[in-house]
């Protein structure tokens, strides 16, 4: 037994705990059930305590963490959204790993009764010039493309960033957004003893057994042998599931619904029964199987994709089966809800498991972290001899250059709601039945977080919110995916602790509660961890899609303004990374009060229709941001920097938070200045929009001058 439970990833202490819950030795099936539900992936053993410190409630938050996804109110509708990682599967098989990552998060949204309306993908890879990384990148993008496109959910945004720290451990986080009438939100509840537990969708095979524990382990040489854990996605089946489940949720037959993600039948049944404070009986002989001779253990732990659990009113099973059949889907009654709080499993005439439901879902141990910071680094200062070529080099760098080669492979238009497509600061999709829309952005700069986890996490939230503001939307709530190394190591524990604290502080200040998310630990290979990478998925709301703003300069003669403070640094910047290959120094902290003032001010200027374009400053600093504004309409700008004491390279290429470039008609300049003055937001006129060239001067002397054509061709690559 000892070697068995250890192989399943349980510690001696955890095993003792199971014995004391049951008052006896567990059967093999029971042991497997505890092993998956008590895995890091399912039980959040190392993160639970800290995650409880995040703000989760606020005006218009309909559903917070704990359900399958969070939900924010928008008129009569609920906007449902969540992000999830699929890092480990992607490292082993990029195409299928990414594809099944999309499938999984979509089913979470479906489990809320919502129609999935958008996907975003946040990706991190090592140097794209290395063949192995190239293979991973192409595979991941192709996998997302194949799955997302086929199910007819547009992939409207995301990010792709590169750093050596992700070379062995690529990150693949996928966010899904859904829309449902707010009085129709579905619940993952196994209500009503006697009601049927119906499994709908794919047959159950041996795939992914122990996927949940696998996701909680470090990758090492033996991961190769665990390869049968690789899952193949079937987007066609998923599309049928979406249509069938949405149709069924419109009937009175279905009282609860739950996706089958990690730990398959075990977790979906245990979670729904636990939430409803009921129990369940399962008859495994009824589960449609793909392979013969599967044991109870295998059936309970299978992670076969494209399956959903429906809790169906007793007596209505046939109606539900008929609807499923109409969509060409298998369905089966695999159990019943009971009242006694036990989960009993029968197979081949035998009772193979009998455990208290809540012991699976609530009794997993919770571990404290032992944080200790790592020593700081001395800032390496990049050298800039020729600003023109530095700008062009930055524009051509993989982190900044156009991502069209990625998003062109995604159907970002299907469903005909995409108002702002990939390429803007945030994507914007209309919510049918309203005049409004939702803006979406994912952000998380691992380099900054690595240098200062607390400030880096604040910066991630602030940037995500700023991106959403730049298209004219009010930030409302976030979902997040926390990608870290092994939390049992003190410095990783420190990073994690600080990130959660920073994220919480920023979310409180910005009024964007955390409605859900996902933690992915053990992103390490041979002891080398990824940068701590919290990915923030921001949801913003816009009342009138016709008022949306884009980042491109609009007309010659418009005034270019820089809003926000002046503090910048090279620590963690794109240019520093380009020249030194690693981040160093101390990034500029985010002044959250300033950030809030800036965002509120920009939104109020937009409401008055004074803003013709807006773009936030991020990687590459002021010069890159200006260049990015030139691209879409092929318009340039003539900019005069204030004659300050800051070294020129810093002014041009260093990075700092809370800064946005806007343009306006000259006649509105006065009003904008007045509003900014009143709000206490620094506002500087940089220059004017001109034809054909971006030029930057200081003290009357031109220090950078590049044609827009040149900018575009370098950036497009």
């Amino acid at each position: 037994m000892e070697s068995t439970y250890r192989q399943m990833g349980l510690s001696d202490m955890e095993y003792d705990r199971i014995k004391s819950v049951l008052g006896r030795e567990p059967s093999l099936t029971e042991l497997g059930m505890y092993a998956v539900l008590w895995s890091e992936h399912c039980a959040y053993k190392h993160s639970r305590k800290l995650l409880r410190t995040l703000p989760t409630t606020g005006e218009g938050i309909l559903v917070g963490p704990g359900e399958n996804a969070g939900a924010v109110e928008m008129g009569d509708y609920a906007i449902v959204f969540k992000i999830e990682s699929h890092n480990h599967p992607v490292a082993i098989e990029p195409f299928q790993g990414a594809a099944t990552g999309v499938g999984g998060i979509v089913r979470d949204i479906l489990a809320m009764g919502a129609r999935p309306v958008a996907l975003l993908d946040s990706l991190r890879f090592g140097d794209p010039k290395e063949p192995r990384n190239k293979y991973l990148i192409n595979g991941v993008v192709a996998g997302i493309s194949a799955y997302g496109n086929a199910i007819g959910v547009p992939t409207v945004g995301g990010e792709v960033k590169f750093a050596n720290a992700y070379s062995e451990n690529p990150l693949c986080n996928v966010m899904c957004v859904g829309v449902v009438k707010k009085d129709r939100i579905a619940k993952g509840l196994a209500r009503g003893p006697g009601n049927a537990l119906m499994l709908v969708g794919a047959r159950t095979g041996r795939d992914g057994i122990h996927g949940a524990t696998f996701a909680s382990e470090q990758l090492d040489e033996t991961s190769e042998q665990k390869r049968p854990a690789v899952q193949v996605g079937d987007p066609f089946m998923e599309k049928l599931l979406i249509e069938a489940c949405l149709e069924l949720l419109d009937t009175p037959y279905v009282v609860g619904i739950q996706d089958m993600g990690a730990a398959g039948i075990t977790s979906s049944v245990a979670e729904t029964a636990s939430r409803a404070k009921t129990g369940a009986e399962l008859y495994l002989d009824n589960v449609p199987l793909r392979e013969s001779g599967m044991s109870a253990y295998e059936i309970m732990l299978s992670e076969s994709q494209e399956r959903m659990l429906l809790i169906v009113k007793q007596g209505k099973e046939a109606e539900v089966a008929a609807r499923c059949a109409k969509w060409g889907l298998l369905s089966a009654v695999i159990g019943r809800v009971t009242a006694d709080g036990m989960l009993r499993v029968f197979h081949k005439g035998e009772k193979v498991a009998e455990v208290p439901v809540t012991s699976l879902t609530d009794d997993a141990p919770c571990y404290s972290l032992l944080p200790a910071p790592r020593p700081g680094t001395r800032e390496e200062v990049p050298s800039v001899t020729d600003p023109d070529s530095t700008l062009l080099e930055l524009l051509a760098s993989p982190g900044i250059s156009s991502k069209q080669w990625v998003y062109e492979q995604y159907d970002y238009m299907v469903q005909t709601n995409t108002v702002l497509r990939p390429g803007q600061d945030a994507a914007l999709i209309r919510v049918r039945g309203t005049r409004g829309g939702i803006a979406l952005s994912t952000d998380g700069n691992g380099r900054l977080v690595y240098l200062d986890p607390y400030e880096g996490a604040k910066a991630a939230v602030a940037e995500a919110a700023r991106n959403v503001v730049c298209v004219g939307a009010t930030p409302r709530a976030i979902t997040n995916c926390l990608n870290f190394g092994n939390p049992e190591k003190p410095h990783i524990a420190y990073e994690f602790t600080q990130v959660v604290r920073g994220m919480g502080d920023a979310c409180r200040a910005l009024g964007t509660p955390v409605t859900g998310g996902n933690v992915s630990f053990y992103n390490e290979t041979c002891g080398k961890a990824v940068y701590p990478t919290p990915v923030v998925g921001m949801l913003g709301v816009l009342d009138d899609i016709l008022a949306a703003v884009t980042c491109a300069f609009k007309s010659e003669g418009d005034v270019v303004l820089l809003l926000g403070p002046d503090r910048v640094s090279f620590a963690g910047s794109e240019l520093q990374y380009l020249q030194y290959g690693a981040p160093s120094g101390t990034p500029v902290p985010v002044d959250l009060e300033m950030e809030v003032r800036l965002q509120k001010t920009v939104l109020s200027l937009m409401k008055k229709r004074l803003v013709k374009s807006a773009h936030d400053l991020s990687e590459g600093g002021l010069a890159v941001a200006l260049a990015e504004c030139c691209i879409d309409q092929a318009l340039g700008a003539s900019v005069e920097l204030a004659d300050d004491t800051m070294p020129l390279p810093l002014s041009l290429f260093a990075e700092g938070p809370s800064r946005i470039i806007i343009t306006c008609s000259p006649e509105h300049l006065h009003e904008i200045r007045r509003c900014c003055g009143e709000a206490g937001v620094p506002c500087r006129v940089l220059g004017t929009v001109v034809k054909g060239v971006l030029s930057i001067a200081r003290a009357g002397e031109t220090c950078l001058r590049v044609s827009v054509d040149h900018i575009i061709s370098k950036w497009r690559g």
């Binding site: 086929a150 007819g152 049928l240 159907d411 005909t416």
Partner: protein
């Protein structure tokens, strides 16, 4: 003026087509389930884009054998208007209602972007509101739009003027460089001999509303159908 939008398992532009049509004054529209055979109430059948049967085996191959396609073939024979968009075009090819076949894009990737196409024929029921030679913008979104036909078929298409849309640049020049997917002769859309069955890869329903950022050139195609049908009454 009644349109029917066929729903195959895996169709995913069915609702988009439905909405774009319903937005046009005077147009009625309903869904048609792939197992239904009665389409006698319809004036125009739309086979929408998407991934019918997951694009498994070959795009459109399985859908082409569904019950509704027998009715669609009869309907077409009797002169009814049939419009196949993207996967719908692929289904028409597989069903033999239009000649040729689709191969994987020459890039081997899915491509989603706005492209320019030239209206080669403005005298069809689907294009009468365009100008002959007009260059319009429409989005494409597919992996298999690399049109193929043997030389004889291709010659026949060209000499009888059945190429209706051709990929081109903003000036209408149809060079290989402006062919996104490798399609022979830059073919983006063709019509059958009797001029009532059109298949095209670009998505008119995605450029029927300006707010979506791809212009409104596609709306004219849907309106042409209505115009044509109204004239027939």
């Amino acid at each position: 003026m009644k349109f029917g939008v066929v729903v195959f398992p895996g169709s995913n532009c069915d609702a988009d087509c439905y909405n774009a049509i319903a937005d046009i004054p005077g147009a009625q529209v309903r869904y048609v389930w792939h197992k239904d055979r009665d389409i006698s109430d319809l004036d125009c059948v739309v086979l929408p884009g998407g991934f019918s049967y997951g694009d498994y085996l070959r795009t459109g191959a399985i859908a082409a054998l569904s019950p509704v396609m027998e009715s669609v073939a009869d309907f077409a024979k009797r002169g009814g208007l049939v419009l196949g968009i993207c996967n719908g075009f692929q289904i028409l090819l597989e069903a033999g209602l239009l000649p040729g076949a689709m191969r994987r894009n020459s890039t081997l990737t899915f491509i989603c972007k706005d492209v320019y196409v030239k209206v080669e024929r403005a005298d069809t029921p689907f294009t009468s509101l365009y100008r002959q030679g007009q260059v319009i913008k429409m989005p494409i979104a597919h992996s298999d739009g690399n049109y193929y036909a043997d030389q004889k078929t291709l010659d026949a298409l060209e000499t009888t003027g059945r190429v209706v849309f051709r990929y081109c640049d903003t000036e209408g020049l149809a060079t290989a460089e402006h062919c996104p997917n490798g399609a022979m002769n830059n073919i983006a859309g063709i019509i059958n001999e009797s001029g009532n069955v059109l298949g095209l890869m670009p998505h008119p329903e995605r450029c029927s509303e300006g707010v979506l950022g791809s212009g409104e050139d596609g709306r004219m195609l849907l309106m042409s159908c209505i115009h044509h049908l109204n004239r027939g009454r």
